[in-house]
């Protein structure tokens, strides 16, 4: 057991070091951009994972929460000249509150009915972005979103204009989120969520308030997506309704499933893998969706616990083999 823990710690340290060193490795800026997109996708997949992976409620509204965070923070910065550092948490809060409002009636629905309601909600949000032209400028989107304000640490001033600087900002946010996330899923709350996914009725008779925990997971997952939206807006500097579609929600879902839902490493692995794959497959144009579908099909059939689940199984087998030898 101890050896296994050590191996895990080692992998985590190497992964963090690699993530920190990545922009300094002399890759073209294009790859740093893909790096930033990967980080944003990890945050989105983690948000969905809390709802679907832990609490067992599949949501197809994650892109909508992503969009709400992006639009709310961008509008606060553009119209009220707020600083990014105030606008971003408010974007997250807005997404979280909307999720709680939506969750109160819809989380009573079970299985496919909940999924359908989130799909409908996601589409409504996109149409609002598209048609509320006096505020969102409709299909033209919102250009000229300012970058996060510089932070002065006394001896050095951090700016967030370039790709690399944004990469480090988002990586920092991700690492903080991961620490909080780890603590959350290993707390009483995390255990209650897993119990709900395991057995709805038994969880109720244990005296666990199922509706409360479901709404909590939905709200926190949405707030995380909203925060990601604000980071995205501050990085790309332009947002339009095209980004926040059902297609994006499904992308997030695929990342989580392929990586392995109900784990922390799963969404990370899945998001990096799929982001990279989407970019390299650009040459195939629309055919990439076929490859995509096939991949999803194979994963569900042969690796139901995703890449993370497969890796765990392999390492367990290696350890078992060692014991026998």
């Amino acid at each position: 057991m101890k050896q296994w823990m050590n191996l895990k710690t080692l992998v985590i340290i190497v992964a963090i070091l690699f993530a920190v060193a990545f922009p300094q490795m002399g890759f073209k800026m294009y790859y740093v951009h893909i790096g930033v997109l990967s980080l944003l996708h990890i945050l989105l997949a983690l948000g969905l994972n809390l709802v679907a992976g832990y609490a067992g409620q599949l949501s197809l509204a994650q892109a909508a929460f992503f969009g709400i965070g992006a639009y709310v923070s961008a509008l606060l910065m553009l119209n009220l000249k707020w600083s990014f550092w105030l606008a971003a948490p408010l974007g997250a809060l807005a997404a979280g509150l909307v999720a709680v409002g939506i969750g109160l009636p819809t989380l009573r629905l079970k299985g496919p009915y909940f999924v359908i309601s989130t799909m409908g909600f996601g589409e409504i949000v996109r149409l609002v972005f598209l048609n509320w032209e006096s505020v969102t400028r409709g299909p033209n989107g919102l250009p000229g979103i300012p970058a996060p304000d510089p932070i002065s640490l006394g001896f050095v001033t951090l700016t967030f204009e370039s790709r690399v600087e944004n990469y480090y900002l988002i990586l920092t946010v991700l690492l903080v989120v991961l620490v909080l996330y780890y603590n959350l899923v290993h707390s009483r709350i995390g255990r209650a969520l897993r119990a709900i996914r395991n057995d709805y009725i038994a969880t109720q008779v244990m005296g666990i308030h199922v509706a409360f925990y479901r709404i909590l997971a939905f709200g926190v997952g949405a707030a995380l997506s909203g925060l990601t939206g604000a980071l995205y807006a501050g990085y790309i500097r332009f947002i339009s309704p095209d980004t926040f579609t059902i297609g994006e929600s499904i992308n997030i879902l695929i990342m989580m499933v392929i990586g392995g839902m109900g784990t922390i490493s799963g969404p990370i692995i899945g998001a990096i893998f799929i982001t990279y794959l989407l970019e390299t497959m650009r040459v195939f144009a629309e055919y990439r969706l076929v490859i995509y579908g096939l991949l999803m099909f194979l994963v569900i059939l042969y690796m139901p616990h995703g890449i993370a689940g497969m890796l765990k199984k392999l390492s367990l087998r290696v350890r078992a083999g060692k014991k026998e030898a």
Binding site: A192, D199, V205, M206, G207
Partner: protein
């Protein structure tokens, strides 16, 4: 201890439970028997707050608990071990038990309950880090009962603990229920296995199509002509 008056439960237009009265005294085992669909499980679900009563009242230790939610009822001291076991299949035996203590504030003292449960069910101690779903049917039933005991209830509701178990195991489970009762636990037992249930009970209620048809001391019911014909197959 528990006083039910005029309790009715409806599922839409279907009246599953119609104005039943029931009393349970401290330290008793009370068996509720009846055919499939007679309203036994629904009665239990109403007691533990899983379904809302359409009418009537439930009083527990002098408090009116009618309409309370499931969480408050567990905290008041009623623990429900649901039909079909309903353990958490992808969590370990220990995690299952831990969840049973979810409403407890004194989480430092859980080891007392663990010891007691492992004494009743030694096999669970051996399986403690195994996933709930990999246990056999009998072991799962033991886990479900153990989990229900983790909240330190005063009244234990057992819904068909013999369901789908081999006859030998059924006997063992009933023996353990008696042990638990001897140590002071009040038990309300639902069973289709009427003979077994009445044999370990102090009193019994027979439900038919949503109402209580016969009630009395368990020994009387075992000799009641109607019960013998309808439920004991004589």
């Amino acid at each position: 201890m528990l006083k039910i008056r005029d309790l009715s439960v409806h599922y839409g237009k279907i009246k599953a439970v119609r104005q039943i009265d029931m009393d349970i005294a401290q330290g008793e085992i009370v068996s509720l028997i009846g055919a499939n669909g007679a309203g036994k499980s629904t009665t239990l679900r109403a007691l533990s707050g899983l379904v809302k009563a359409a009418g009537g009242s439930v009083e527990f230790e002098g408090k009116d608990i009618t309409g309370w939610n499931a969480k408050s009822i567990v905290e008041a001291g009623i623990s429900h071990c649901p039909e079909g076991r309903q353990i958490f299949p992808r969590m370990t035996v220990m995690e299952n038990l831990e969840l049973g203590a979810y409403t407890r504030k004194d989480t430092k003292n859980l080891s007392v309950e663990y010891d007691r449960i492992f004494e009743y069910f030694p096999v669970l101690a051996q399986r403690r880090s195994q996933m709930g779903g990999t246990l056999s049917g009998g072991e799962q039933q033991m886990l479900a009962i153990g989990r229900a005991l983790m909240s330190k209830p005063k009244l234990l509701l057992l819904d068909e603990p013999s369901l789908g178990l081999a006859p030998l195991l059924v006997e063992k489970i009933f023996e353990i229920i008696q042990n638990i009762n001897r140590e002071g636990m009040t038990v309300l037992l639902i069973e289709q296995n009427a003979w077994q249930a009445l044999n370990i009970a102090n009193r019994g209620y027979v439900m038919e199509t949503g109402s209580v048809a016969v009630t009395g001391a368990a020994s009387e019911l075992l000799h009641n002509d109607h019960v013998r014909r309808a439920y004991l197959g004589e």
